[in-house]
Amino acid sequence: MKHDQKYTGQEFKVVGARVERPDGVDKVTGRARYGADANAPGQLVGLVLRSSHAHARIVKIDTSKAEKVAGVKAVLTSADLPDLTNGDAGNYATLVNCMARDRVLYDGHAVAAVAATDKSSAKKALKLIKVTYEKLPHVTDVDEALKKGAPLVQPTNKQDGKPSNKSGHFEFGHGDIEAGLLEADIVLERSYKTEQTHQGYIEPHACLATVGPDGSGELWVTTQGHFSFRIMCAALLGMDVAKLKVTSSEIGGGFGGKTHVWIEPVALALARKSNRPVKMVMSREEVFKASGPTCATSMDVKIGAKKDGTITAAFIECRYSDGPFPGIWGMLGGMTAWACYDLKNCKAVGVDVLVNRPKVAAYRAPSAPMMAFGVESTIDQLAKELDIDPVEFRLRNVAKEGTRSSYGPIYGPIGIEPTLEAVRDHPHMRAKLRKNQGRGMASGFWFNIGGQTCSDLNVGVDGTVNLTVGTVDVGGARASLSLIAAEELGISYDQVKTNIGDTSSLGHNDTTEGSRGTFSSGMATIFAAREAIEVMKSRAAQMWGIPEDAVEWKDGEARAVGAEHGNLPALSLKEIAAEAGATGGPIAGHHEVTADGSGVSFASHICDVEVDPETGKTTVLRYTVVQDAGKAIHPDYVEGQFQGAAAQGIGWALNEEYVYGEDGCLQNAGFLDYRVPVCSDLPFIDTKILEIPNPNHPYGIRGVGECSIVPPLAAIGNAVSNAVGVRLNHVPMSPPRILKALDDAGA
């Protein structure tokens, strides 16, 4: 059934309430079941042997001794897996990343796996697997990888016909940069670097896999997208999609890192080989070394402006380190670079580069924070050079409804200008600063996506409602979707229970990524509820014995309307549900859709820092997030997304980074030396939700989960630079880097 998805401006009764989340009590009491909390009779422990070389040829793998260890039921190498060399390039890369074939491509790359009855037998067997390597030269730095004569990560990768580590080149923009620069009164050229960071989710990857002799399998897994995991695993292992049932566990954070398979195909393959259930749980070290962090980058920016603050030309090239397989990170970054501004001449180049580091995965608004660091840092300096207030400078160039965006589309109603105005008018902007303190602000953009979704809504005999959706709840979506169902049906929030269905209970649902969960499942829920209402109206008509068109649905009950029947007492949802068996059977609504029209989102942040000039240590004193949410269905969880994104951005800006040694091995694969902010490192992060409705959603919803990780690198960079009087151009701005910048500037 086709439904109109236009924004209607309806008034809400329950949407917007700060209700308790349905999964909260289970999570704080330990009843919630995460990836590692499932067990099956006779299950084995699966462990992976990983490379400690950055780059080497695998000459030989001898598993004979490991196979003889008591308790070992299966030993697996790439020889046990399909050879996808001549198939789909993406599937090939994914499988080779899960288990190396001829070469190991980074420190931590899987080379073999074992399934045994207990952990110590499995460990013993791992130690007895003998791998003969022939070491190859490696490269881990994005700039080094592009130099002439750099070791080749993938010898078959070519650029302009020649072997190269450059694996992708994407350009976006319009106008004429050279002409624009000629019009400028001032041109700034700057270069920046950002280091590689990890999403840092608390829950490591974990799964339980079984495969029966008939070839049908089940996978319990912590994931952002069990339907996508099913497709990937089936494709990699040659299984039928319909015969693999994937159930998503509760998820202890993903932020993009759980959109991709790492150990799951290995667990299934071990289960298939051993004919026993296999459970695998990554250690933290494995998570850092062998799941998918985000890219390190290096970039050059050039902006020209007139004295009045009009930008005449804007150019950026940013090089992204993808790990050993080509990605689309440069493309995503390139699309976002200038999206906040209305520019006559702009160009963004995103370059993808192969290096001997883990295969990169999405990380919250993937690729956008780095470009924003380059863009917003340079804009800040330009404003200063022109003696224009940085917010005012941005407002003079801001994108509006009708602006042709730097990546192509013409914008509908958007929120960048309102976020900047809110920043300008915020009391935070006028708070006093002391010695060694500085303030910075920056803006950011993220697309958000829609995609395939389907939901089921079933009315129980007692008038309570089960909503089943296929988008994994990573940030409170069950609460928001229950609110939406309650709103449509006209019942209370408590009457609705939302579940995440497994892959056998619903049609395909795309992964929870691109801030799509509440946008797309919310849309499917609205229409599924409306379908159920039609059913209930018809049942009420039957119960009354009147024509269906004389029934209306209002406030959770069927009402007979018109002169003839208007005096009949209303029938509540509960009363209609109680009679369902006699009036035609179960009452349900269903909807499937490829949800188009996800609204883009914008955020602007303000941040105050204090820098100790003798140690280079930065303390974040105050932080304010302003972001457009379209419509905040559950304001608490919208604020939580803003705060969480800002917190991750602050960690990235100040201390988080992958540190590689000369040997190409990762030196800080643990939370002790990979420094995410702890609670006491952060101030309470203030939030301001703006609601500029998305015209393409009945409730005006836009995605909210990602956008606020985009501004922090630049907001903090601008604040630190203002505090110390020297520009910081390398993220993270760790204490040694800040002291060095001060030294270099002779301060």
Binding site: T615, K617, Q667, R675, V678, P736
Partner: protein, 286 residues
């Protein structure tokens, strides 16, 4: 692996010397259990000392304080007398980890784990603390600076155990302080640690000890640094000399936690700050 929890030091020492395989003393376990889980050690025998009553006590003695080897950071922090006499030692120990870690971690564990970056160790060295080492045959008092011989290495012989730490009696007009640099606010390992202990006479520093952590393979007792401030009122010049002596004593490595350049420089910065605090605590006026 065998686990034993004896009731006396003597019993513990006997168990340790009898065992042929690898033995480990278990205090709070905040280093040991982490290593066990990470497969870094494979003990044959683990001796838990937390059930030894004498090792759980803090006693004021004729010569100062005696702190049992199993006393946790939290217990230490609750002792008013200690906090008054040796605020720097208590602060340094209370910096270890978090609330959860404080409930278990010990100074002796911190010392015997022999990390160059251990927080309580420079403070103990500056304080002139001694370890009461008990072996099968004899018991000896060893200056804390002589326990750690290298990263993960101590001068304890097989079968030896530390029963307690002693801190000397505090003369009037004394003060100590410990400062560490970490990029975060907690749950981190010192990039640099500096402890200063001093005693004033007639407003002038009469004696002092300065110790550095995380800037060399072992915590250092830096005599030149102490010499730089003895006989002064901690004027600007004395502070600069102190900083220079501390920086000169550093022999650090470049690693994921900090560069050589950075550590050397910040050692001097922190030394000045720690000395100022210790001086103020000693009632010193500039």
């Amino acid at each position: 692996m065998r686990y034993e929890s004896p009731k006396t030091t003597k019993e513990a020492v006997t168990l340790l010397s009898k065992e042929k395989g690898k033995t480990f003393v278990l205090a709070g376990g905040t280093d040991l259990l982490v290593k066990l889980r990470m497969d870094m050690i494979e003990p044959d025998l683990m001796i838990d000392i937390k059930r030894i009553p004498a090792m759980n006590e803090i006693n004021k003695t004729a010569t100062g304080f005696k702190i049992g080897a199993a006393v946790s950071g939290r217990q230490l922090g609750a002792s008013k007398a200690l906090a008054k006499a040796w605020p720097g030692v208590v602060e340094a120990t209370n910096l270890i980890g978090s609330d959860q870690i404080q409930g278990r971690c010990t100074m002796v564990g911190n010392l015997c784990n022999a990390s160059p970056a251990a927080d309580s160790v420079p403070a103990m060295i500056a304080a002139g603390a001694k370890a009461v080492v008990v072996g099968k045959a004899k018991r000896r008092a060893v200056a804390v600076e002589n326990i750690v011989t290298g990263p993960g290495q101590t001068s304890l012989a097989k079968g030896e155990i530390i029963e307690a730490i002693t801190l000397p009696k505090r003369p009037a007009k004394s003060g100590d302080a410990y400062l560490r640099f970490i990029p975060r606010t907690e749950m981190d390992i010192a990039v640099v640690g500096v402890a200063v202990s001093l005693t004033c006479k007639r407003g002038v520093i009469d004696s002092a000890r300065v110790s550095l952590g995380a800037v060399a393979p072992t915590p250092l007792l830096v005599k030149e640094a102490a010499a730089a401030i003895i006989g002064t009122k901690l004027d600007k010049e004395a502070l600069e000399n102190l900083a220079a002596a501390c920086s000169a004593a550093c022999n650090p490595i470049d690693d994921k936690r900090g560069t050589v350049e950075y550590r050397v420089r910040v050692a001097g910065v922190l030394a000045k700050r720690a000395a100022n605090i210790a001086f103020e605590r000693a009632g010193g006026k500039k």
